[in-house]
Amino acid sequence: MRRLLVVTALAAAGFAALPAGPAAAHPLGNFSVNRSATLTVHPDRIDALAVVDLAELPTLQDAPASCDEAAAALTVTAGGQSLRWSIRDAALTYAAGAGGLKTSRLECRLSAPATVNEPTRVDVTYRFRDDRIGWRELVATASGVRLEGSPLPSASPTNALRSYPSDPLTSPADMRSATFTAAPTTDPAPAPGPGSAAGAGPAIDRPSGVLAGFEQRLDNLVGGARLTPLVGVLAVLLSLLLGAAHAALPGHGKTVMAAYLAGSHGRPRDAVLVGATVTFTHTAGVIALGLFLTAVTGVAGESVLSWLDLTSGLLVAAVGTGALISALRRRPRTHEKPTGEEPTHAHDHTSAHDHTPHDHSDGHDHAHGHAHDLAHGHHHGPGRWGLAGLGVAGGLVPSPSALIVLLGAAALGRTVFGVLLVLAYGLGMAATLTAAGLLLVRLRHRIEGRWRFAARWRAVSPPATAALIIVVGVGLAGRALAGVA
């Protein structure tokens, strides 16, 4: 956070230290011819202010601009009738420009009678020295009437060609003609201004749903010009929330995990293990993919996601197959003891449902873990490695919004912050998954305690669960395959 603040401060200093350009030069280049026309629609007439700002060379090159020329170039029709301008006021001034040359500025106040006692279509075209390079702006306001569907601003963005925006985010204006409707105000109160034109604008493409709204907000927070500590904390919280919400949506390996925990003999520890694995895999996966996409241009993130989907599905299927094999092998022995309160078997190192206090330590367990799981399969679920596999499958496919947040942050030079957000995202996901897992474990205990068929279910559940895991895994892989192909 501190580093970010320092970077921001340095950036601000960089702007301030920029050398200013030569003050005298015309901001739009020394051969620009710049025009502005402002229409004011009254109930009985249309007034116009036509301004021309000529840079040094056109001032020297051509005949001085005149209001006759400007009035001839400004064609306005109201209700199909062409207006005939009368010149009320004209002013031509010169100002010192670059290289000891002059720039010139012409201001013409024009007026023409026009009746607006019903909605009237107004067409305006301004073609003063149309072949020349330069700024072209049109402005429309109303007094005593209102304008409908006007694409024009109601105030000059350049203060009538006195100050041009130097912001590269504003392209030089190139407005040569426009059409709008002037209508008499039904409201007796005078209502000057742009009228209802603004309200008719196109609707902003809003993301649908609360979640999408939050995602948009997170992007905005990360992309914001300033990143205060408060904003930073807010962004992290929002990431946690988004991660949690994302995990609550159907898809990925979550269904599988839920099925496993519900169907076999999962314990609270298993739920936590899966949650931790999901967080780790998701964070690592998003960062790896982010690095990959940044380093290798020309790779569509979309296709990478499809491949990851496929891998995730296959992994789930593999875990399911492993569980099915071990369950089938174990079946002949377990069905004799349907209550499951069997004594600890000599080889049961992984202890999926071990209740005895003299259990093997974790280190010991780890040393034997995988091989024993598959070779002997003396437990009911996919085992700890299988659980880890499910967690990996659940976290392997990065959520696109987390990826976007990371890439956005990296593009802004806020990579560390982005990683933090992604970590928070993964933690949020893990929280939901763990909570769901714990809930299911609880629920299962309740059910087992009440109903008799639960005992029967327990007998068949390991292979059934494993089969379900395979179905879901293969289904996920198949869907991803359709995306890859």
Binding site: D131, R132, W135, L169, S171, A300, A317, A411, G413, R479
Partner: protein, 430 residues
């Protein structure tokens, strides 16, 4: 069958069945279509790039890559539309990119901007800086090639163009390769390369650019029919591309259609009153026996503003002084430019200035240099012939004039007939 084998068989059959079921159901479900990049038919590629970048930067003002992209797009737009008001916008965007983070793209953009403003030394520095960080930036090699060419380092320019070809053979590389070959007098190869460029171009402005280069190449070897065809094709692609009108005016002037030449030159000079367009316009007006003083005054004013804004262009100063007949001023300006960049055109202008000042002894080495640097330029050969004549070396003058005629008898509407007349005279008296 023993138990493990039966179990394995069961598992295999079950897995296979499940796999089939899963695959069938999985494939029936359509993968959700992601946000695919759609290819839009591009009308004005640059304007769209600019608009997209602006939109993105309004929400992500710290995105230095997009700032650099925006700056570069402004430079390109200024080149195509000949509207210099985009240069300050480009510079602001590129500086802002650098303020966020020092990055090679922004340095490349500043290099392109410096080239556009004829500050070739700064352009080279910027391009080299960009390449230091990212040695695979084809565009930076393009900027470097342009700068090295103008600075009079043909070998460095050729190397840069070769790098550009290796990294990204495309329109920009073809165009620069073609120009490079043209500079080295390999006109046929230059023409071939440009034809490949025009085939690769999709944007109207790019097509116009390519046709203009092809037209110039044709004119350079004296093929007026082919040149006219190329200029016409270019104007059909983009009628607003000014250099095409200049090319067309030049052909009209050399073939005696002076009024058409003056009309085209007037259009160009009115829209972009730069010293070179105004000097051309003035030349045609003089040829028609009219006064060109207002155009020269305007050209001088344009040059004055350029220098008032911190630019330095003594080549133009020398050309203006030559057009005014102020030979001593022309010599001083040309010498100063030659010190900074020993480029063929500078050598030619210096030789002409010295010749007009009556210092033909000094002029000859520069005329030779110009011809050596650009052996297929008929104008340079003619200028050397003029100097040889003034020095009384008639055999050399005859050889040079013959070569001029062989290269391009239409090299100049003013000097072309003079060259032809002088050669006839030399051939008449052995």
């Amino acid at each position: 069958m023993n138990r493990p084998a039966r179990a394995a068989l069961t598992v295999s059959v079950a897995a296979l069945a499940l796999f089939t079921v899963g695959a069938v159901f999985g494939l029936r479900e359509q993968a959700q279509p992601g946000p695919r990049a759609t290819m839009v038919t591009r009308v004005d590629q640059r304007a769209q790039t600019i608009e997209r970048a602006q939109q993105r930067l309004r929400t992500l003002p710290g995105d230095y890559r997009t700032w650099a992209e925006l700056g570069l797009a402004y430079v390109e737009q200024a080149r195509v539309t000949a509207d210099p008001s985009r240069y300050p916008l480009a510079e602001t965007a590129l500086r802002r990119s650098l303020a966020v983070r020092d990055n090679p793209d922004a340095h490349t953009g500043l290099g392109a901007l410096a080239n556009a403003r004829h500050d070739f030394g700064a352009a080279r520095t910027s391009a080299q800086r960009a390449l230091k960080t990212n040695p695979f930036d084809a565009y930076a090699y393009g900027v470097l090639a342009d700068a090295e060419t103008q600075l009079g380092h043909p070998q460095a320019a050729t190397d840069a163009v070769q790098h550009m070809f290796d990294l990204r053979p495309g329109l920009a590389a073809y165009a620069r390769g073609s120009y490079d070959l043209e500079q080295r007098g390999r006109l046929t190869e230059a023409d071939d390369l440009m034809r490949r460029a025009v085939a690769a171009a999709t944007d109207p402005a790019d097509r116009a650019f390519c046709h203009h280069q092809l037209g110039d190449l044709a004119w350079f070897r004296g093929d007026l029919t082919a040149a006219t065809a190329e200029y016409t094709a270019g104007l059909a692609a983009d009628p607003s591309y000014q250099p095409l009108l200049r090319g067309r005016a030049r052909i009209a002037a050399t073939t005696g259609h002076l009024e058409a030449a003056i009309a085209d030159a007037a259009t160009v000079a009115a829209r972009t009153p730069t010293p070179d367009t105004l000097l051309e316009y003035a030349e045609y007006l003089r040829l028609a026996g009219r006064s060109a003083d207002p155009q020269l005054t305007l050209a001088e004013a344009a040059h004055k503003i350029f220098e008032a804004n911190g630019g330095r262009d003594d080549l133009t100063a020398a050309q203006l002084a030559l057009a005014r007949g102020d030979t001593s001023k022309a010599v001083i300006a040309a010498q100063s430019e030659w010190k900074r960049r020993p480029f063929a055109e500078v050598a030619d202008v210096l030789a002409r200035s010295l010749h007009r000042a009556g210092r033909d002894d000094e002029a000859l080495p520069y005329a030779r240099k110009a011809v050596a640097l650009s052996p297929n330029n008929a104008a340079y050969t003619f200028h050397q012939a003029q100097i040889a004549l003034a020095l009384g070396d008639r055999p050399a003058a005859r050889t040079l004039l013959t070569r001029t005629r062989d290269l391009n008898p239409y090299f100049s509407p003013t000097d072309g007939p003079t060259a032809a007349g002088a050669l006839t005279e030399l051939e008449a008296q052995p």
